[in-house]
């Protein structure tokens, strides 16, 4: 089983971890500067704005003068982040720390403030493209592609229908999220479940078409065999949409980096990480539903865009002479303001005290997710009825899903009727889920060594004292002169006994 490590990581951490040269390269793109600015904590944004037109370094003391007394912790966070991202350059002068804006970043942001960014390509006029899909059609298309992909994630066997994902991409997703034992069907790993829960949690907050952006940042470090998954607690200062945009880009970018790790891209042309991020960010600034000519893309970008189409980010179309791509809302999800998508995506699960679960949903995806930890009994057109049983939960635990994750999932997706109540999921159910989990942990294994046939009581007592002194005594039976000692101190114990024998 791969070692799963949960680290509070987000896109910016990843950007910050890029080497300095790469970062400077990234800042050559105005859109990235804007995206970076948007991702900063409010105070850091303020610092950047205030220093935008100041060319000389500013001392940290005068920066702090802008703050009220209780803001010093915020100041520290802001400054740390700015330095990490190399937006601020630190110049030490006569024992006083001074800061200066990164000049590439500064020039680009100034340009952006005054004249705005101009995309490298213009939409193709209506006369050439004839009829473009309506926004509803695009949404439906994007949604379908996306759900299809998620479904494939959970049950690789089931969603055979028209999954045109390149097998390489699927394999990459599976590497992190699914685990395949010999000859068994692939199963979801803990990180995979967390990923899904994350998506569901966010789905509950926002309309589905935004979901694409709701990815968890997930980095798969191939060489170390370690998976890092962003923790569920998001930094509060980031707003949802920025977060989504960045995470999504991060996710897809990461995906492509992985791709390039093993085959497709790297063999033909080494795609640069910075290029990938830049392209994705740029794409998110396009107008959804407009057609853009494929000819305007570089070769690398053309390769990427095909995979993006698989995920439902863009729709590719062919005209008589030229072909073009249409960004869907998944790609530009951020240009849609929340108010016009009015209705929040609502929860759908009702759990009763008798462990029965009713899920008002017609989505196959929901059904599959529930099936991970509950027994689905029957399905009506808009309702899934199931029960949470000991067996179904054991199944889930075996797959590495924790009780806490299940409870959170149920709480976050509670149907509005029950969501008003406190607690939204009956306490006896949540308690029982936790108890069943602890059931599995009843036996604790400790490697140990067993000693008996001591020559005399003195030797035995000395040995047991010695073990106790090293905190290694697990059990002893003074009458029969036996004891069990933790494996760690076995060597020490042997030395000790040998010393006694002489």
């Amino acid at each position: 089983m791969p070692q799963v490590k949960i680290i509070a990581k987000n896109f910016m951490d990843m950007v910050a971890s890029l080497p300095a040269i790469k970062l400077d390269l990234l800042y050559r793109n105005q859109f990235i500067c804007e995206a970076i600015l948007r991702s900063l904590p409010p105070l850091a944004k303020k610092y950047v704005l205030q220093m935008l037109y100041i060319d000389i370094p500013i001392t940290s003391k005068s920066l702090q003068e802008w703050l009220l007394a209780d803001g010093s912790s915020k100041h520290k966070v802001a400054i740390d982040r700015l330095i990490q991202l190399r937006v601020f350059e630190v110049i030490d002068r006569k024992k006083e720390t001074t800061y200066k804006l990164n000049s590439t970043f500064q020039t680009n942001l100034r340009k952006h403030m005054i004249s705005g960014g101009i995309l490298p390509r213009e939409p193709i006029p209506q006369s050439v493209t004839a009829r473009l899909p309506t926004s509803e059609e695009l949404d439906a298309y994007a949604h379908e592609q996306w759900e299809c992909f998620l479904l494939q994630l959970i049950s690789s066997g089931q969603a055979k229908k028209s999954t045109s994902f390149s097998s390489s991409m699927m394999r990459i997703f599976q590497r992190g999220l699914l685990r395949q034992r010999d000859k068994e069907a692939p199963r979801l790993t803990e990180s995979g479940f967390q990923f899904l829960v994350c998506i569901m949690k966010l789905m509950a907050l926002l309309p589905l078409f935004c979901v694409c952006g709701l990815m968890d940042p997930y980095t798969d470090k191939l060489n170390e065999g370690k998976i890092e998954i962003g923790s569920l607690s998001w930094p509060l200062y980031l707003n949802w949409k920025t977060l989504m945009q960045l995470f999504f880009c991060h996710f897809v970018a990461r995906l492509f980096i992985l791709c390039s790790d093993f085959h497709v891209l790297v063999q033909e042309q080494g795609v640069d990480q910075a290029d990938l991020i830049a392209f994705l960010l740029e794409l998110s600034f396009h107008t959804p539903g407009e057609a853009y000519s494929l000819d305007t893309l570089t070769d690398d970008q053309t390769t990427m865009i095909k995979d993006l189409a698989d995920l439902g980010l863009v729709k590719l179309q062919k005209g008589r002479k030229e072909s073009w791509f249409i960004p869907t809302k998944l790609a530009t999800n951020l240009s849609v303001s929340l108010t016009d998508s009015s209705s929040r995506k609502q929860g759908f699960v009702v759990v009763e005290t008798n462990f029965r679960m009713y899920a008002y949903s017609s989505s196959k995806l929901h059904c599959e997710i529930l099936r991970l930890f509950a027994r689905v009994e029957y399905q009506l057109p808009n309702l899934i009825v199931g029960a949470i049983t000991k067996e179904s939960l054991y199944n889930a635990f075996e797959n590495g899903i924790t009780a806490e994750q299940i409870v959170t999932f149920l709480q976050q997706n509670a149907h509005p009727r029950v969501a008003e109540k406190i607690p939204s999921v009956p306490e006896n159910v949540t308690d029982q889920i936790r108890l069943w989990e602890t059931d599995l942990n009843r036996v604790e294994m400790t490697p140990a060594h067993f000693y008996d046939e001591f020559p005399s009581r003195d030797v035995f007592e000395a040995a047991s004292d010695f073990a106790r002194m090293h905190n290694g005594l697990l059990w002893e039976d003074a009458k029969k002169m036996r004891m069990v000692v933790m494996a760690e101190i076995h060597m020490l114990m042997r030395e000790h006994l040998r010393g006694q024998n002489k």
């Binding site: 409010p42 944004k45 703050l67 509060l236 707003n239 920025t242 600034f285 009015s342 209705s343």
Partner: protein, 296 residues
């Protein structure tokens, strides 16, 4: 009606309603030309929109006779701007502004000469509040709203009642009114508006650096205001205008029933109709004169 806090975004997402003074009488006499002023403001608006994807900017032009919306970053027309094209925003804003100015000028032809050349601040303030109320009532989530007045023309005392009512309704919906006064004397209305609603009032010393003032002070979102030093009011001009002659006074008569303000003694309140007593009228008016002279 203040909205439930749960409907607000928890962080620094803001809706800024900018009231733009377009009074030609002021701009013809100002040291900063109107076009320079606009370029500062446009960059500022762009900066606000850059700061956060969800930030929203609405611009209302305050003319001499009328006021109107000239820009709304959330409307469909400007959608393409959100995707990073500044020129679209500029051109649509400038075009609307020009149309507005022409209309405003046509209205002003029949105006008599000799009165204070103030702009219709009360009208634009009410429009801003209406817009904010609409935002409050629509949708599940909305940004933190605030109003920014960029005003240069002198106060029009005849608008006193309307402005005060608007200020109090802003206070009730907890919408801060920030004000940046660009004219020569300071404006009592703006000072009071910012003071009552908890906004920031500032009068830039050097108008050439307007952009930096705007960025440093007025780009601060409500979330950050709790930990950033902002200009504090030094002394607020609390003088009111009387209801009878619309003069600004620092001492006058107040109706004990409806709190209407008068500069002279009346037999009857013109607002609520209550009959005033006659006693001490002469003594009061005499002392009133005495006190008034040293002040002005």
């Amino acid at each position: 009606m203040a909205s439930a806090p749960s409907k607000l975004y928890a962080d620094d997402v803001s809706l800024v309603v900018v009231l733009l003074d377009t009074n030609p009488f002021f701009w013809s006499s100002s040291s900063l030309s109107f076009s320079q002023f606009l370029s500062h403001v446009l960059a500022f608006l762009n900066a606000i929109l850059t700061l956060n994807q969800l930030n929203q900017v609405v611009v209302i032009a305050t003319g001499y006779n009328s006021c109107d919306y000239v820009f709304d970053s959330s409307s469909d027309l400007n959608r393409s701007f959100e995707n990073g094209r500044m020129p679209v925003m500029c051109s649509s804003l400038l075009q609307k502004l020009e149309e507005f100015l022409i209309k405003d000028e046509q209205l002003s032809k029949e105006e008599p000469e000799g009165k204070i050349k103030s702009s219709l601040f009360s009208g634009s303030l009410s429009m801003a509040l209406c817009y904010i109320q609409r935002v409050f009532r629509s949708g599940a989530l909305h940004p933190h709203p605030r109003i920014l007045c960029l005003q240069g023309s002198p106060d029009g005392p005849e608008q006193y009642v309307a402005i005060m009512n608007a200020i109090f309704s802003a206070q009730r919906s907890s919408v801060p009114i920030d004000s940046c006064y660009l004219g020569s004397q300071n404006s009592a209305f703006l000072q009071q508006a910012s003071y009552i609603t908890g906004g920031v009032h500032h009068k830039p010393q050097n108008l050439d650096g307007l952009f930096q003032y705007l960025m440093t002070i007025f780009a601060t979102d409500l979330h950050s205001r709790s930990f950033i030093h902002l200009p504090k009011p030094v002394g607020v001009d609390f003088r009111a205008s009387c209801f009878c002659h619309k003069n600004t006074i620092d001492m006058g008569y107040i109706c004990s029933v409806c709190l209407s303000i008068f500069c002279k003694h009346h037999k009857k309140c013109s607002t609520c109709g209550s009959v005033f007593g006659q006693a001490q009228s002469e003594a009061a008016s005499a002392s009133d004169k005495k006190r008034k002279t040293p002040e002005t």
